[in-house]
């Protein structure tokens, strides 16, 4: 009997110590490692960017910041994990536009969270320019020539995109409505498949990210006709507004979020740290080499971009019949 009481007592003490300690330790944020969840595959564009970023953020916050991949369901799986995680600032989200804009716009019933309400913006990292690309040997040297040809041959120009409901698909639809043309859209599973189809000549045009087409343009195999964001590397390639059209194309970006409802003290530490990490010149150079445009936007500006992109996407999705 005495031994029983002793053992129970021992366990209670250990238990009390184990829960008591963290409560007693009112340490400033952050006091232990932070994890950034990225809802994309290892090796994807976002994955390549977030890892050096996490490294840099860790140096600024002086605790380890590690990256966890949780891909799936067009980036909504990992995002949902963050939305439902503890709101203590130790679990952050490195999101692409699919996670916070396009997935919800195309399939609102399936996506279990509301990006505007359930996520707290912490800062926009970089833009991901998207392109309209053709083969080097194709007869169209400018975007205008492509549009003219498409007008005269409706449905004959085949365009590959990384998927139904992807941002490139939305952009193609905007182009179609602005220029009054009919393109045949062929969806592929991801950007790599879309660009391979163009390289093999199975489609005439590809609407894909610059990070994928850039290397082939430099090798002389492909030509970019249009960009969503102006790039120093390709000074002669226009954006759609430069050509005189009224509506701008959607551009993809990467940004950091936390679950909605984190405390103000945590925000006060995270937001400036993130800003400092993003603006670090070495990191910026590394990321620009990958084909992205680093352009920090504050949480308020990020929120504005997020909401406006969502509204455009939603109305397009309804118009296209992607959702009701």
């Amino acid at each position: 009997m005495r031994r029983f009481i002793f053992i129970v007592g021992l366990f209670s003490v250990i238990y009390a110590l184990s829960i008591g300690a963290p409560i007693l330790k009112a340490q400033p944020f952050p006091s232990h490692p932070v994890q950034i969840i990225i809802p994309m595959d290892p090796g994807s564009a976002g994955d390549m960017v977030v890892r050096p970023f996490a490294d840099e953020l860790g140096k600024i916050l002086k605790i380890p910041v590690f990256v966890v991949n949780k891909p799936g369901a067009a980036a909504t799986l990992g995002t949902d994990v963050v939305v439902k995680s503890k709101k203590d600032g130790y679990t952050l989200l490195y999101a692409n536009t699919s996670a916070v804009v396009y997935a919800k716009a195309s399939n609102p019933e399936i996506v279990p969270y509301d990006p505007a309400k359930d996520l707290e913006p912490l800062g926009l990292h970089c833009f991901f320019p998207l392109t309209v690309t053709v083969q080097e040997g194709s007869p169209w040297k400018t975007f205008g020539e492509l549009v003219d040809y498409a007008r005269k041959n409706p449905g004959n120009v085949r365009v590959s995109t990384p998927g139904q409901g992807s941002i490139d698909h939305f952009n193609l639809e905007i182009i179609k409505s602005l220029t009054g043309t009919q393109f045949t859209m062929v969806p592929f599973k991801g950007g790599a498949a879309a660009i391979t189809a163009l390289l093999g000549g199975h489609v005439d045009v590809a609407c894909i990210a610059n990070s994928l087409s850039g290397p082939h343009v430099k090798a002389g195999k492909l030509r970019i006709l249009l960009l969503t964001n102006k790039m120093r590397e390709f000074p002669s390639v226009p954006t759609i507004t430069e050509l005189g059209y009224k509506q701008d194309l959607l551009s993809a970006w990467f940004a950091l979020f936390a679950p909605a409802g984190i405390s103000e003290e945590v925000k006060k530490v995270l937001v400036p740290a993130i800003e400092k990490a993003i603006k670090n010149p070495e990191l910026e150079a590394k990321i620009e080499k990958l084909g992205f445009i680093v352009d920090y936007k504050s949480p308020a500006e990020l929120k504005k971009i997020q909401v406006s992109d969502y509204e455009t996407a939603r109305s397009l999705a309804v118009k296209l019949g992607l959702s009701k």
């Binding site: 290892p42 890892r51 082939h216």
Partner: protein, 497 residues
């Protein structure tokens, strides 16, 4: 010749002590990753990527490449020993490899797998060296119609996989096709059969499914009966393939190598399809097809050679054109870009040290792997001596960790366990899992390719017959379908006489 000069230059780069170390580390990690079920080379490469930031691009790529083909070597180990595929491409090795282990021939199975992988890997690198660019051009000519035709051939191959009742195999294939339809449809963007379950939104995961179907179900079945395993004595002679084994397997290895290599070059084709196709071909080519499924060494040699050749072949589109042939190559592409290199046709000119150094290190790496794996065979065989009641909890634990590590998703573990139970029931009622797996892989690809082709041709079916490569494969498929009718007739008529 210019190429010989380049190869010699590559040796200069690859034999530098630092690069040799990185090569060794890479293949070692790769082997371990291959042995551990579930954790694939893709995840390992992604995890180790930050560690490579501080070193030169050449060393980084040498190590990361080593992880990939190392994993192909290691994947066969658990398949043979405990019927758990280390990754999807090793599923086929389970079928005959495990049977060989049960008969006490685990050593020769592991040995022939290692040697077959070495021969295939070396061939793939040699072919890459001399035929890289023209082969890559061939890979580019595969558009949606060609993929469709290739998948049709794959479906035909399915019928050769069955070792029991044909009807049951076809039923399993049909189930596989239905399961393949779960998830988001590329063409319409709609989610099918997901019922709101998160883990199903990208479809039934192939790796958790095969781990459950083969590995967990085996454990469950073993728990019912006490398995008397014949463990041969540890005399070195019996641990390695005998001369007879070699004589039996050499053609399987050669066929598997060619098949795997060409399938590996095609983006999206790859090691899985190659290993299944090789198994089917070996069964067809064998004089004793009834032995397949009971421990025929050709059923191990061929597929293992195929998946290693495919791994080597998949480097071609990446190094020569900058196109990733599979997920692992996509990560390597990213790694190259992070190091400031532009993968593509210019890579050979811009970074010859990287290009040739990597290729040569692949020769060296294959050799290192052989030296690593052979002495380990006695060690692995000793694992089988562990009493089963100690072994099986460990197996289940590793499988669960492996399944979780795929995407840090608990749902994958559930998928694995459910397939484990389903697999157990299938065994009890004598249904074969292999046709289901192949259909699960091929079904979605077939559907996607068909619909993309029809979009491209505006609904015109003639696109499949107007393109040479596509027509070629379709004719092959028809032949595969018809020929057995004639051979059966011949057999029946000789019997009647």
């Amino acid at each position: 010749m210019e190429i010989i000069q380049s190869v010699l230059y590559g040796f200069q780069v690859a034999l530098q002590p630092l690069n040799l170390v990185y090569c060794f580390v890479g293949v070692l990690i790769g082997t371990l990753v291959g042995v551990l079920p579930g954790l694939g080379p893709a995840a390992a490469i992604a995890l180790l990527l930050p560690a490579t930031f501080k070193v030169t691009p050449v060393s980084a790529v040498i190590m990361l490449a080593g992880i990939y083909y190392g994993a192909m070597y290691g994947g066969s180990t658990t398949s043979i020993l405990v019927n758990i595929p280390g990754e999807a491409a090793s599923v086929v090795t389970c079928i005959d490899g495990y049977q060989m282990a049960l008969k006490g021939r685990a050593g020769p199975a592991l040995g022939i797998a290692a040697f077959g992988s070495f021969i295939a890997g070396t061939f793939a690198v040699i072919a890459l060296t001399f035929m890289g660019p023209p082969l890559a051009g061939l890979a580019l000519r595969f558009g949606p119609p060609e993929y469709f035709a290739l998948m049709i051939v794959g479906i035909m191959v399915l019928t050769y996989l069955s070792s029991g009742s044909m009807i049951k195999s076809l039923m399993m294939a049909a189930v596989g096709l239905i399961l393949g339809g779960i998830g988001m449809d590329t063409i319409s963007g709609k989610y099918r059969f997901t019922y709101g379950i998160q883990v199903l939104t990208d479809g039934v995961g192939l790796v958790p499914a095969v781990m459950g179907l083969f590995g967990i179900s085996e454990v469950l079945e073993n728990l019912e009966t006490e398995i008397k395993r014949e463990i041969l004595t540890t005399r070195v002679k019996n641990l390695f393939p005998t001369l007879k084994d070699w004589a039996d397997s050499i053609w399987s290895i050669i066929r598997g190598t060619f098949l795997g290599f060409f399938l590996g070059i095609i983006p999206g084709g790859g090691a899985i399809v190659a290993s299944f196709a090789s198994y089917a071909i070996e069964k067809k080519a064998s004089k004793h097809p009834e032995e397949f499924g009971k421990g025929a060494i050709q059923g191990v040699a061929g597929p293992e050679a195929a998946n290693n050749a495919a791994a080597g072949g998949s480097f071609i589109p990446l190094l020569t054109l900058g196109i990733p042939a599979n997920a692992v190559m996509a990560i390597l592409l990213g790694a190259l870009m992070i190091h400031g290199l532009q993968p593509g046709p210019l890579l050979m000119k811009q970074a010859p040290d990287l290009f040739w150094g990597t290729i040569v290190s692949m020769y060296i790496g294959n050799g290192m792997l052989l030296v690593l794996n052979l002495p380990l065979i006695p060690l692995w065989v000793m694992v089988l001596r562990v009493p089963y009641y100690l072994l099986y909890p460990l197996i289940i634990l590793f499988c669960m960790i492996g399944a979780y590590s795929i995407g840090n998703n608990r749902g994958d573990v559930m998928v694995m366990l459910i397939f484990g139970i389903v697999g157990y029931l299938m065994r009890k009622f004598r249904y074969d899992g292999a046709p289901m797996v192949l259909a699960l892989v091929l079904g979605p690809m077939l559907e996607e390719a068909l619909r993309q082709s029809l979009i491209l041709s505006h609904g015109n079916f003639s696109i499949f017959v107007s393109r040479p490569i596509s027509v070629g494969f379709l004719i092959l498929a028809v032949l595969l379908l018809i020929i057995p009718i004639f051979t059966q007739r011949k057999k029946l008529s000789t019997l009647e006489e």
